[in-house]
Amino acid sequence: MVKKSIALVLSIMMVMTLFAGCSGAGGSGGLKVGMVTDSGTIDDKSFNQGTWEGVNKAADELKLDKQKNIKYLKPTGTTEADYLKEITNLHDAGYKFIVCPGFKFSSAIFKAQDKYSDTKFVLIDAAPNSGEKGAKDVVKPNTVSVFFAEHESGFLGGVAVALQLKEGDVGFIGGMEIPPVQKFNWGFQQGIKYANENLGTKINIKAENVVYQGSFDNVAAGQQLAAQMYDKGVKLIFTAAGGVGVGAINEAKARAKAGKQVWIMGVDVDQYADGIYEGDKSIILTSAMKKVDQAAADMIKAEKDGKFPGGQTIVFDSKNNGVGIPAKNPNLTEDTTKKVGEIFKKIQAGEIKVSAEKGDLIK
């Protein structure tokens, strides 16, 4: 009985495979760029989306066929095996330039860069590492590892917030307690401290209002945390938490609709549009950006020009405009924007040093 059913299933598959023989795969011309998403969806308003937009931007500029030359795959799980499987799929389908956003790809790329030496890899927010005890990062000539100076971005955001709000309490909601998120937090606190000391603001950040939720996808928890903070009189929350931040934004929008004045500072990308609750009014005061899209696009263009910086570790910071707040901030006054611009120049010139370490800051 079992034999018969197996035979049936097998014969169905055979027929399918035969049919497929007739319809070939899309012919390839030019550079084929693949991307594997991190946990979360392609429209996460953050990491995956930013990277994918960068890939699209590069495809536009290089006039690549968007149907055939760029592609993203979504792994079924988050283990190294799941990531490697999708990298293999892209490789076997002819995508020989693969962008992987997220620190979780570290050990998968470590293996892939050896296994597929004919393929170029861009690893964002991490360096390839075997993950074994005491192992060193290994960036092979076919891989580029990209990092961001999140602390500088958080610092600028903190200064902008302080200048705009002048006084009162602010808070921070992070996702997982990992370096890229922590650095946003530490930079934010330093920015507020700088503004209080040098620009005459009186912004307060209490230890109880600095929270790491522990995940990047718990929307409901983000909403609850934000509600608690706003109830305690917090005026603005800086969210560096993916989906958890979306929950906080929802809470802020609900409150703004009810006539209360609350703010969110967005993260990673310009989140202004996500915070719109009425007409063109948004609860996003500004966003601490890390320009993942630019990083992805730059690497693809470099590959096209034959200048792929293989084997290198590249840091995107204020010096190369890789971090910062958006060019347009409808909720900031002109005065604030101007002053933040001056501070940005000072960071670029090295006059202001933002620490990437915790030091005596909160969490």
Binding site: M1, V2, K4, S5, I6, L8, V9, I12, M13, M16, T17, F19, A20, S23, A25, G26, T37, S39, T41, I42, Q67, K71, L73, K74, P75, T76, G77, T78, T79, E80, A81, L84, K85, E86, N89, L90, D92, A93, Y95, F103, K104, S106, S107, K115, A126, A127, N129, S130, G131, E132, K133, G134, A135, D137, M176, E177, I178, G214, S215, F216
Partner: protein, 355 residues
Amino acid sequence: MKLPIIKGIKKETAVSLLAVVFGLVAGALFMLMTGNNPFAGYAFLFQGGLMSIERIGNTLATSTPLILTGLSIAFAFKTGMFNVGAAGQMLFGGFCATAVGLTLNLPKPLLLTLMLIAAILGGALWAWVPGFLKARFNVHEVVSTIMMNWISYWVVYYTVPAYFKGEFLETESRKISDHASLKVAWLSDLFGGSYINLGILLAVIAVIVISFILDKTVMGYELKSVGFNRFAAEYAGVSVNRSIILSMMISGALAGLGGAALYVGNASNIQIGILPSQGMDGIAVSLLGANSPLGVLGAAIFFGLLYSGKGFMNAMTNIPPEIADTIIATIIYFAATSVMIEKFIDRIIRRKRGE
């Protein structure tokens, strides 16, 4: 017209196969609606899972945790329990195995044995709690197993970074050594560098052992009798409370073993902040497999094939990953509604007989 296919095989098998066919047809309609060629789509799906020896290995490896969680849930179903906690039992079992693997330094056979025992005990412990609560206080196992899932999630969330943190990866444990991995060189080489591992052998052994327990032992008979009618079983002298706890523990042990297959077999570290999806998929596997151990084996391999081939289908066609997920969900949905299909078959048979 006679129904030759149905005549030759058991009704349950026919129902499951029809569910698969309906699911594939529904998936094909989805592909057509989104402007893709379903024949090409399915061909790439199956090629992605089967076109090289390495990919076949990966498909089997993807199926391994599903076989074990499917078996876990099927066993619970057979004995009248609905174990929704396979994800948590799996996570905790996998965590126990990882903890042993990262702590002890022993020869591989001994270490692996200890790790597997730890996984089995961990899973069994996690299922013992809902079993005990059901037997003693009549707490419904669906509620308590779901709660145990989250307890397991947070226990792992805090314990891994505290004691087994990776060097750079804050959300993962350290990588286990080759010593402590279910991957063995001869099996990887046999399948051209695939991540297939001893887990698949364990899963097949588990299928055999569980069919033996269910069909050939007094214990299995007693457990099943409690599943059919707990009061009749009690009247016949079966200790119902003991049976409930025992069947939950066996179910949990299987899920725990699935955790070992996932975290120290397919993967080489345990991650925090995520419940393994195989726990819930196991319910669908069990339904499609009509709760029989052999059926579960077939259903899990089919699901493994879908999951493993999906990416290649995405890469070769313009079917976006989200649609591919929907197609797979549609197939699972049809699999889960096999009761509906059963009624449909009954009606056809009745009509043939002219009733």
